[in-house]
Every structure is written in structure tokens, then in C-alpha cells.
């Protein structure tokens, strides 16, 4: 049986918001280390994976590994019933077909309980290799969100060009072209934590779909910074660390043939 108590319902809400556009149904895999999710979008272009570590919960107990097949839209609906500061408890029996959610208000004067029906979802688990990337860029997540939003005006795809002195996002389309360059070390809001840092082994230039990237930036509320890890011709890894609790990672296959006419 699974029992997990989380102090802030908001975290769960944000997490859901960050994935529900990409996938509709997914298995939440629970084991003693925490709760995992891995799912691909329909066209197998992007993959989202998150981990909520056991330590991140106020209380966490999972006797045996099991999978909760969840319709993300339904879970989102139920989570809407929780206040941001509510304490959430997730409960599920191994062979049951329900996920129980208990929301307790911070001062404990209101307790609501919901049961969500689980579904059977066939999913293939992908072994994602730990990779050393040619370029690992950490930047402000809101800056990244803005760049994606701004460049979406111009084109469906963005070229990310990472060199020693900075990272450049550029797009060109029917109405014109544009680019945003972030310099190494610079911070958009004078906060050292969100300054742009680049670890570079080799300069890389890759093209990605802005639609997907914009989708990933739905995770912005989860973290101040985002890490983009890139190597030629391998999927981009976009990672948001969720303070203490875990992370959410997106993988996006690059586009090929990037002479953007």
C-alpha cells in the first residue's frame, strides 16, 4: 500500500500543470524511493519524467512497487478542490483501483476526501541513459519561458546555439527573424542563483520545436532555474529541480535539416 503525505498541495498542482498538456494519461510508479512518472507524448517526440523523492514527503510509505494509472485531466480536476496550502495525503491499495486523496486545510478544520478511479495504461518504460552533454546551461526559468514565448511569434522552431560566451536562441519565419542571446554569468534579475552558467565541452547548435519547449515551460513555477543539456543529435534535456523534493525532466528530440527557409 502507498501512503504519501505532502505539506503543500501546490507542489502537486504545479507538477500536474507541467505535464498535463504533454500527456493525457500516465502511470505513477511508486516504490520505496518515491514516486516516478515517465511518459511520452503521442508522437514520441517528447518525454517527460518526474521524480518525487520519498524524503520530500512529510510521510512516505510504500510497501511494494506499484503503478497507478491516472488520467491527468481527472487528477487535475480533483486537485482543483484542494487549497494551495492544504496538506495532501495520497493513499492507494496495491490491488485496488482507486487513489484516495485527502486534503486537510493548514489549521486542520477542513478535511476533504476524494477517490479517483485508476485506469490500466499500457506504457513502455524507456531506459534513459545518463549522458554527458557537450553543453549544460543553467538559466533563469522565467527567462527561458519568455524566450520561448517571444520566439514563438516568429517560427515553429528555434535554433539554440551554445558557445563559450553565451547561449543564443534564434528563430526566423515568414514575418522576419529574431534572436535572444544570454551571456555567461549574466543574471536577468541580479540574483546570483538565476545567473546564466554554461559548462561547455564543445559548441553545439541544435534546432527544436518551440511548441514543445513552450509546453515544457509550464514547469516554470516549480523552479527558479532550468538546466538545458545538449549534445549534437541527441535529445535535449530540460530539467527543473523541484526544491528538495525531486525534479521534472523533459526530453525533446531535435529537428533535423535545419536550414530554415
Amino acid at each position: 500500500m502507498l501512503e504519501a503525505r505532502m505539506t503543500q498541495a501546490a507542489t502537486l498542482k504545479k507538477l500536474l500543470d507541467a505535464i498535463k498538456e504533454l500527456v493525457t494519461d500516465a502511470n505513477f510508479d511508486c516504490n520505496d524511493a518515491g514516486i516516478n512518472l515517465q511518459a511520452m507524448d503521442n508522437s514520441h517526440v517528447a518525454l517527460v519524467a518526474f521524480l518525487l523523492r520519498a524524503q520530500g514527503f512529510e510521510h512516505y510509505r510504500c510497501d511494494r512497487n506499484h503503478s497507478l494509472g491516472i488520467s491527468l485531466a481527472s487528477l487535475t480536476k480533483i486537485l482543483k478542490c484542494a487549497g494551495n496550502d492544504d496538506v495532501v495525503t495520497l493513499k492507494s491499495e496495491e490491488d485496488g483501483d482507486l487513489l484516495s486523496l485527502v486534503f486537510e486545510s493548514p489549521n486542520q478544520d477542513r478535511v476533504s476526501e476524494y477517490d479517483l478511479k485508476l485506469m490500466d495504461i499500457d506504457s513502455e518504460h524507456l531506459g534513459i541513459p545518463e549522458t554527458e552533454y557537450d553543453a549544460v546551461v543553467k538559466l533563469s526559468s522565467s527567462e527561458f519561458q519568455r524566450i520561448c514565448r517571444d520566439l514563438s511569434v516568429l517560427s515553429e522552431s528555434v535554433i539554440i546555439d551554445c558557445s563559450k560566451d553565451g547561449i543564443k536562441f534564434s528563430a526566423s519565419g515568414d514575418i522576419g527573424s529574431g534572436s535572444v542571446k544570454l551571456k555567461q554569468g549574466a543574471s536577468v534579475d541580479d540574483n546570483a542563483d538565476t545567473s546564466t552558467t554554461i559548462e561547455l565541452k564543445q559548441a553545439v547548435t541544435l534546432t527544436f520545436s518551440l511548441k514543445y519547449l513552450s509546453n515544457f515551460t509550464k514547469a516554470t513555477p516549480l523552479s527558479d532555474t532550468v538546466t538545458l543539456s545538449m549534445s549534437g543529435e541527441v535529445p535535449l534535456l530540460v530539467e527543473y529541480k523541484v526544491s528538495d523534493v525531486g525534479y521534472i525532466r523533459y526530453y525533446l528530440a531535435p529537428k533535423i535539416g535545419d536550414d530554415n527557409a
Partner: protein
């Protein structure tokens, strides 16, 4: 890699493998990886120095299962080919390009044994490696080149060589997968061996006559006709005659054909020793689901030929393999071959428009919808586009391959989607399938979704193939003599056809066939109410004398031929009533009124029946039959009994089933007697078709005149006692029709001006598939649209016209072009008024869209032609000498006068 205007989206699957072990990932994927020895990542590092950066990313292979390898492998041979290696591309370059790609390569470098032991390489990887790297054996390459050049697709391959191959493939040893293996793997769907060719050649020679005809038929059905009709000859008689002749030929051909097929199959068996020829095609593990690729490869082979014998042989071969390995998938296979999602009479359709497909393809490939549209105009086939878009995409690893049942299930799901955001849901499902597609799958998947498979496979090919496959599965088959085999095959084909014509649903036939074989099939699957059978059809005749010639020395009867809609009325034991059309379409929703009052008709003791009749519009006040045009104004769906404007009366003329007994074998005279004794007439609701058993020209002529006077189309003449059984789905010479129209001569020809053209699709890509024609109105000095035309052209003519009119394209219609601007009618291109065509039409009718002679016959509606057919170019006429609006109106009025008492339909518009 020719077109890359836009960056193309890759899928993640190209990079990650699925973890088939299916276990829960550990807390982090990383740890999972390092812990799990069998995980693909592990062996990789030692295997090679990471010479290029991309190698760092390792691939993961989900299915160590050797069978999967075997199954996946074959399509690999084709799949990546379309992408990265066209044969002419130098291997070096390709290898170079591939260098950037992660994974597989590494493993490749590692020794094969290790790889085998660890079973980490996905089939795709190894195979695609083989492709990519061009370590491909020269033989293989050569074979592929041949294949590209459209090598002959003889399907029969003697078994010997194959069995070797197949052994290797089914063999569990992944070593068999070693891409460097000099032994050429299977050539999916294309087999070549000399003995086979010889056989085929012989068989083909014999079947030649029938084949040529079939080719004609087949090609005509490919032709894209904007008008919807396939052929529209000058007069209705010609039309019917042509249809009938065609069908009859088909029937005759079918008979001959069955023999040919039987012979060919026997030969094939002998050559093959009666055992499976797996090596020639994709194989899969016994009991597994049939890979979709196995089906599409069969399609591919079928598409490359127009010879029906060949098609049947390919299909037989495929069915046989399905029977051997996964009989439970056979039904799905058959439906996919026929491009249906269920029995015909259920009327389920996919209902997927081009625009949805374009969107889905665009999303799946990250191309813009606009570029797909423009490519569509150029290539004309979305399937090909999907395939090439797909093929350009780099992939090292594919999602779990599509299987026949999964595709069929998804298609069924799609056909059931309705309501809000149904389009999105459909697109999502299509995208999902598309992303799992490989090789030639997208092409056929898209075509299936469009409902245009265009491979020339229809029931009459599937049925014999099914029969052959079943018979060939007989364990004793090898022991039989040639004659015995031929006989068995032929018998089976006729049994299956017979059964299918009585119970046209594979959902029942196939399981019965699997269980009981062809011998017990007829016993197990019988005509029964609730499942519509194909109605028996009549042969047209031109003159009464012809009737007498045909029925010399036979007793026959004449019946009124009512001008309505064929209706097959079923009543089940439980009282449920269903009405089916000539095409086995369920009309129950159209005729709730008929269903409601049907209980009045049967006399006591009648529990269940199938009655054949005609549903005719009926004027309750005047108590007379109304023309067909009135009936066609009835709503087709969601009819409420209370709102019905057009009342109908059923005229029953045959009884096919009564109280648990099929009457198809009984002579008409008995069936008619039963009909009359089991049912009673109800005025204005149900009547027996009027008949007369006379047999002199005068009697028949008088009866015909009466029929015409009674607003009927003419007469049906049927044998009564001898050769008088009910032959479902046959256009039989035992039923003749004499229509008044046949007797009154041919249709009119008009000279019309070409106004615009519609871009051709399919076979007509690059030309215009249809044209918009107009007549000239002297008074208003304008051209008025009169019809679209798409038939009557030869290929040469199409090419000529396209060439001619391309020089006369104008960017907008002339101000003196009068037409209704609806998307359906608006031509893709407009032309100057430069050429006049002579066109023949079956008839003229009032049209809500066309504008010809507007105001002359109807104040707001024009006249259009039904079934227009191109005759020739009138070089001698200038556009302004074209048939004038006044003449068109005249033609229309004359026609009214001819069709006796047709005056009624004027007030019914």
C-alpha cells in the same frame, strides 16, 4: 534528404529504447541503468572508445526477444532505405552521416557475440545498422537495387531456400541478426526465384483473357471521378448494360478465375512442397499478433501488379501465414484488406477527411500543413506523402511495431469517435499510429484512413484467397493428387462465395471456417434474418423479343418493375424488423414508418422472414405511385414518423427466408406462392408486385404499357420453375429487366464550354481530374455552369486537355461566368472560354447548384446533367455556338413529356 525546407521533428524513440522488461524504474533512471546488468547501457562503454561525441548517448533496446528481432528485421530492410539510403547514395556518405547518431554504432563495434549474449541490441538497431552502414552484403544490396527497379514480384517462391531463411529468422539466436551476415535476409514481399516465375508465367498465360478484363475494370475503379459515378454512358440502357456486362464478366471471370487460381495454387504448393514460405515475408512468432508490416508488404506486392491471379496468390500466401501463425487475427486482416471496420451492412465508416489527415501528418512530422497541401497537389497521394515525410526522418529505434489487430482496433475506435473535440481525438490516435509506423506502413495506413486503399482488392479476390489458404492448410494437402487439389480448391472457393453471399459477415464466416473448414462451412453459416444478403440482380434487355429468345421453352413470369428503392425486409423471431438497401445498408432509420406498421403484413404463423421488395413513394390521396425523384427527397436519417412528407408503399416480389428456412434454393413459383400465402396486402402500405404469366410478345407488350402507365419503370421477367432459385449477389440471366427507357432510344448530346478544372488525384495527378462545363445564354450573354465532368476521357485525352488548358488558365473567373460559389463546385483553376466539348448525358434534372437555363424552367434553379460523359472536342464550334440555355431548357421539357406522367415532380422540389 532532398527536401528540407523546414526542420523536421525527430522522435524520441530514435534515441531511447523501450524497456521491455517492464519493471518499474527505480527511483532514478540513472540508478536503474547502472544496476541493471541486462540494461542496454551497461555493455556499451567497454565496447568502444567514444570517438564521437554523440556516441555517448546509448540506446536501449527493449525487446531482447529474438522473435521480435526476426519480426522487426525484415521491414528494416525496407524502412530505412527510403530514408537514408537510396541505392545511389554512396555508402560512405551515409556512414558518415550516421556517425553522428548515438548508440547502435557502439554496439556494432563491440563484437557480435557479446551483443548476442547480452541481447541488448534491438532488432531495429542491428538491422538499421546494417542498412546505415552499408556493411550490407553485396548480394543484399543488389537485391535491393533490383527491388527498386520494380523487380517482378512473383509471389511464389519454392520453399527450400526459404525454409532456410525462415529457420534463421525464427531461430532464437540473435547471431542470426548479425547485420554483417552474408546471407541475404528476406526480401520483404518481393521474392524472386526462377521456378516460380515460370509457374506464374504459365498461369498468367491461361488467365490472360480474364485478367485483361479485370485490369480494365480495376483501373476504371481507380479513376477519380468528381461526379461520383464511375461510368456514365449515353443512355441509361447502355449504362445498365455496361454494368451488367461487366458484372457478368466478373462472374464468368470469377469462375474461370477460380480454376486458374486453383491450378496456380496447386503448382505453387508442389513447388513449395506444401509447407510455409515464411522466408519470403515478414515472419512472426506463432500465436503473436500479426505485424502490420506483414500486411503492408503484402499490399505493396499487390499494388505492384494488376494481375488478379497474382494478387490472389499474394493474398493467399499472406492468409496462409496468418492461418498458420495467428488464426485469431484473420478477421482483422481481412477487414484491413477490404478497408472496412466491420461488416458492410453495419455501415461503419472511418469518416476521416483529407484535412484531418493533413493535420495529423503535419503534427506527426512537424511539417507545415501548407507544405503538405502543396505536395498533395503535386503528388496526389497523401499516403505517399506520409511515407516520404516519415522516411526522411531519422530513426534508429521505433516504438513497438504496429500489429494488425492494434491497427484494426484503433481504426474501429476512430470510426466510433464522435461528439465534441472528436477531430482532436482522431488526430491524436492517427498521430500515435503514424509515429509507430515504419517502412511502407504510413502509406497504407493513411490510405486506409482515407478509405482509398487502391490496391485492387475486393471481396471477389479476398474470398478465393481465403478459400485457397484454408484448403492449403489441410494436413493431407500434400498427399493429394494435382487434380484432387485443384478440385478441392475450386470447391472451397465456390463454397465460401456462396456462404458469403448469404451471410456477408467475416465475423462469423472466419471462425466457422477455422473450426469446421470449408466442408462444414455451409452448414455452420446460413442465411438468417438480421444479416442482409446481397440481392439478386437482373440483366437488362433491349427488346421483348430478346426476352422470348432467352426464355424459350421455359415458364416465366413478368412483374412490374417499380421505380423505387430496393428494400430487403428482415423480421427476426423476436419481432425486430430491419430494412436493408441494395447495398446492404441499414435503412431502418430512414423508414421508421414502414417498420412500425410492418406487423400488419405477415399472416398468422409467420415468425421470421426475409422479404425482397421495392419501396416506392406513394400518393395516399390519389392512391398512385410517385416517381423515384419524390422518394429521393425523403430524409435519410433521424426520420420521425410524424414528420414524414413522402409516404411509401412496399411492393414485395420475393421471399427469401421464412420461419427458419432459407428459400433461396426453391424455384420462384414456390417462393411466390409462399409470399402470397404468408402475407396480406394493406392498401397504401404493402402490396404484392403485379405479375402476369403470359408468354406472347403482345401480352408482354400490353403488360409493359400498363406498367409504364402505372408509373413503373418497366418489367422484370423471371424464370418460374427451371433455374429459378434465388441467387444472391448475382446479376443473373434468369431475371431480365425491360425498361421503358431502353426502348426509347439514346440520350441527348450537348456542346458545352469548359470553364474550369479540378486538380486530379491518384491516377490523374498532374492533370485535371474533372472539369466544370457551361452552356451559353444568348440573352444574358453569359456562360452558365451546367455540370462537372470526369468521365469519358482516355488517358491521352486527359493529358492533352491538361496541356491545352494550362495555356488558358486565368486567375479569376470571367465576370460573365455564372456559377454557384460553393467549395464543392468551385474549380481549382479557371479557364478562358476557348473550347467546346460534345457531352452526352443520361438525363437532365433541376439543380440547386448549377445555373444553366436559370429562370427558364425554374425561377431560381438551373438545370444540370446527370452522368455526363465526354465524347469529343468540337473544334468546329466556337464557345458562343455552344448549346444555348434555351436549348437546354427545351431538352429538359422534352424529357418531361417523354417520361409519362412525370409532371408530378415539378411541384416537389
Amino acid at each position: 534528404m532532398d527536401k528540407k525546407k523546414k526542420p523536421r521533428q525527430q522522435t524520441l524513440m530514435s534515441f531511447f529504447g523501450a524497456n521491455a522488461a517492464g519493471k518499474l524504474p527505480n527511483a532514478s533512471q540513472t540508478s536503474n541503468k547502472s544496476e541493471d546488468a541486462s540494461s542496454p547501457a551497461a555493455p556499451a562503454p567497454p565496447s568502444s572508445p567514444q570517438s564521437d561525441s554523440s556516441n555517448r548517448k546509448r540506446k536501449h533496446s527493449p525487446q531482447p526477444d529474438a522473435v521480435n528481432e526476426a519480426k522487426d528485421n525484415p521491414d528494416e530492410v525496407e524502412m530505412p532505405v527510403s530514408d537514408n539510403d537510396s541505392p545511389e547514395e554512396p555508402p560512405k556518405k551515409k556512414a558518415a552521416r550516421k556517425n553522428n547518431i548515438p548508440s547502435g554504432r557502439l554496439i556494432k563495434k563491440g563484437d557480435a557475440a557479446k551483443k548476442a549474449a547480452a541481447k541488448i541490441v534491438t532488432p531495429d538497431e542491428s538491422a538499421s545498422e546494417a542498412e546505415d552502414k552499408k556493411v550490407v552484403s553485396p548480394r543484399k544490396r543488389k537485391a535491393r537495387n533490383e527491388e527498386k527497379e520494380g523487380s517482378p514480384p512473383p509471389s511464389k517462391k519454392p520453399n527450400k531456400t526459404n525454409s532456410d531463411n525462415s529457420d534463421t529468422e525464427v531461430d532464437d539466436s540473435p547471431a542470426a541478426e548479425n547485420p554483417i551476415s552474408p546471407e541475404p535476409k528476406q526480401q520483404p514481399s518481393k521474392k524472386k526465384t526462377t521456378p516460380t516465375k515460370a509457374i506464374n508465367a504459365k498461369a498468367t498465360g491461361k488467365a490472360k483473357t480474364s485478367e485483361t478484363k479485370i485490369e480494365k475494370n480495376a483501373s476504371s475503379s481507380f479513376v477519380d471521378t468528381p461526379q461520383g459515378g464511375t461510368s456514365s454512358p449515353t443512355s441509361e440502357f447502355e449504362k445498365d448494360e455496361k454494368e451488367a456486362v461487366k458484372e457478368e464478366k466478373e462472374q464468368d471471370d470469377d469462375k474461370k478465375f477460380d480454376k486458374e487460381v486453383a491450378k496456380a495454387t496447386v503448382k505453387m504448393m508442389m513447388a513449395g512442397g506444401g509447407s510455409p514460405k515464411k522466408g519470403s515475408q515478414i515472419t512472426w512468432k506463432k500465436g503473436d499478433d500479426v505485424p502490420y508490416a506483414a500486411l503492408t508488404n503484402t499490399f505493396e506486392a499487390i499494388e505492384s501488379t494488376t494481375k488478379r491471379l497474382q494478387i490472389t496468390a499474394d493474398l493467399t500466401d499472406f492468409f496462409k501465414r496468418v492461418l498458420q501463425l495467428s488464426p485469431h487475427n484473420l478477421v482483422a486482416c481481412i477487414y484491413l484488406c477490404l478497408n472496412r471496420v466491420g461488416p458492410e451492412y453495419e455501415g461503419k465508416e472511418l469518416g476521416i477527411g483529407e484535412s484531418i489527415l493533413i493535420k495529423a501528418i503535419a503534427e506527426a512530422t512537424a511539417r507545415s500543413a501548407a507544405s503538405i497541401k502543396s505536395e498533395l497537389a503535386e503528388k496526389g497521394d497523401l499516403g505517399d506523402i506520409a511515407q516520404s515525410s516519415k522516411g526522411k526522418q531519422k530513426s534508429l529505434f521505433k516504438p513497438a511495431a504496429l500489429t494488425v489487430p492494434s491497427v484494426f482496433k484503433t481504426l474501429k475506435e476512430i470510426s466510433a469517435i464522435m461528439g465534441t473535440s472528436s477531430q482532436q481525438k482522431k488526430i491524436a490516435l492517427i498521430k500515435k499510429m503514424l509515429s509507430a509506423c515504419q517502412g511502407n506502413e504510413p502509406k497504407f495506413l493513411i490510405r486506409s484512413l482515407e478509405g482509398k486503399l487502391r490496391i485492387g482488392v475486393a471481396e471477389r479476390t479476398v474470398l478465393p484467397a481465403l478459400a485457397n489458404a484454408t484448403v492449403a492448410m489441410n494436413p493431407d494437402f500434400a498427399k493429394w493428387s494435382t487434380a484432387k487439389r485443384e478440385q478441392e480448391l475450386e470447391e472451397a472457393a465456390s463454397v465460401i462465395k456462396q456462404v458469403y453471399s448469404e451471410l456477408p459477415t467475416y465475423d462469423e464466416i472466419v471462425p466457422a471456417l477455422l473450426e469446421k473448414g470449408t466442408k462444414g462451412l455451409a452448414e455452420a453459416c446460413k442465411l438468417r434474418p438480421g444479416v442482409p444478403l446481397k440481392p439478386m440482380l437482373a440483366h437488362p434487355t433491349k427488346a421483348i423479343s430478346e426476352v422470348l429468345d432467352r426464355f424459350e421453352d421455359m415458364s416465366f413470369t413478368c412483374e412490374y418493375k417499380y421505380d423505387g428503392e430496393r428494400a430487403q425486409i428482415h423480421m427476426l423471431e423476436d419481432g425486430t424488423v430491419m430494412i436493408y438497401s441494395r447495398n446492404s445498408e441499414n435503412l431502418s432509420a430512414k423508414y421508421p414508418d414502414v417498420i412500425e406498421r410492418l406487423h400488419k403484413i405477415p399472416k398468422e404463423g409467420v415468425k421470421s422472414f426475409v422479404l425482397d421488395g421495392e419501396c416506392v413513394a406513394w400518393d395516399r390521396e390519389k392512391k398512385c405511385i410517385l416517381p423515384f425523384q419524390v422518394l429521393s427527397t425523403r430524409k435519410r436519417k433521424d426520420v420521425q414518423t410524424a414528420d414524414i412528407q413522402v409516404q411509401v408503399c412496399i411492393f414485395g416480389f420475393d421471399l427469401i427466408y421464412l420461419n427458419g428456412e432459407a428459400l433461396t434454393k426453391e424455384p420462384l413459383i414456390k417462393r411466390r406462392e409462399l409470399l402470397h400465402t404468408s402475407f396480406k396486402e394493406v392498401e397504401g402500405e404493402f402490396a404484392f408486385a403485379k405479375y402476369m404469366d403470359g408468354n406472347t410478345v403482345e401480352e408482354i407488350q400490353t403488360f409493359l404499357d400498363e406498367a409504364v402507365a402505372g408509373n413503373c419503370e418497366g418489367l422484370m421477367v423471371k424464370t418460374l420453375e427451371k433455374e429459378a432459385s434465388y441467387e444472391p449477389s448475382k446479376r443473373s440471366r434468369n431475371w431480365l429487366k425491360v425498361k421503358k427507357d431502353y426502348l426509347s432510344g439514346a440520350g441527348d448530346s450537348l456542346d458545352l464550354v469548359v470553364m474550369g478544372g479540378y486538380l486530379g488525384k491518384g491516377k490523374r495527378t498532374g492533370w485535371y481530374g474533372g472539369y466544370l462545363l457551361a452552356c451559353w445564354d444568348d440573352d444574358r450573354e453569359e456562360y452558365q455552369s451546367i455540370c462537372k465532368i470526369g468521365t469519358g476521357f482516355s488517358e491521352e485525352q486527359l493529358a492533352e486537355h491538361a496541356k491545352f488548358f494550362k495555356a488558358h488558365i486565368i486567375d479569376r473567373p470571367r465576370p460573365y461566368y455564372r456559377y454557384t460559389d460553393t467549395p464543392n463546385l468551385r474549380p481549382d483553376v479557371w479557364f478562358e472560354p476557348v473550347q467546346v466539348w460534345e457531352v452526352k448525358a443520361a438525363d437532365l434534372s433541376i439543380s440547386p447548384v448549377h445555373q444553366a437555363a436559370i429562370g427558364l424552367v425554374d425561377s431560381s434553379k438551373g438545370i444540370s446533367l446527370r452522368f455526363p460523359r465526354f465524347i469529343r472536342v468540337r473544334d468546329d464550334k466556337s464557345p458562343e455556338q455552344a448549346t444555348s440555355a434555351t436549348q437546354v431548357a427545351e431538352f429538359y421539357r422534352n424529357q418531361k413529356i417523354n417520361s409519362a406522367k412525370g409532371g408530378k415532380d415539378e411541384d416537389d422540389d
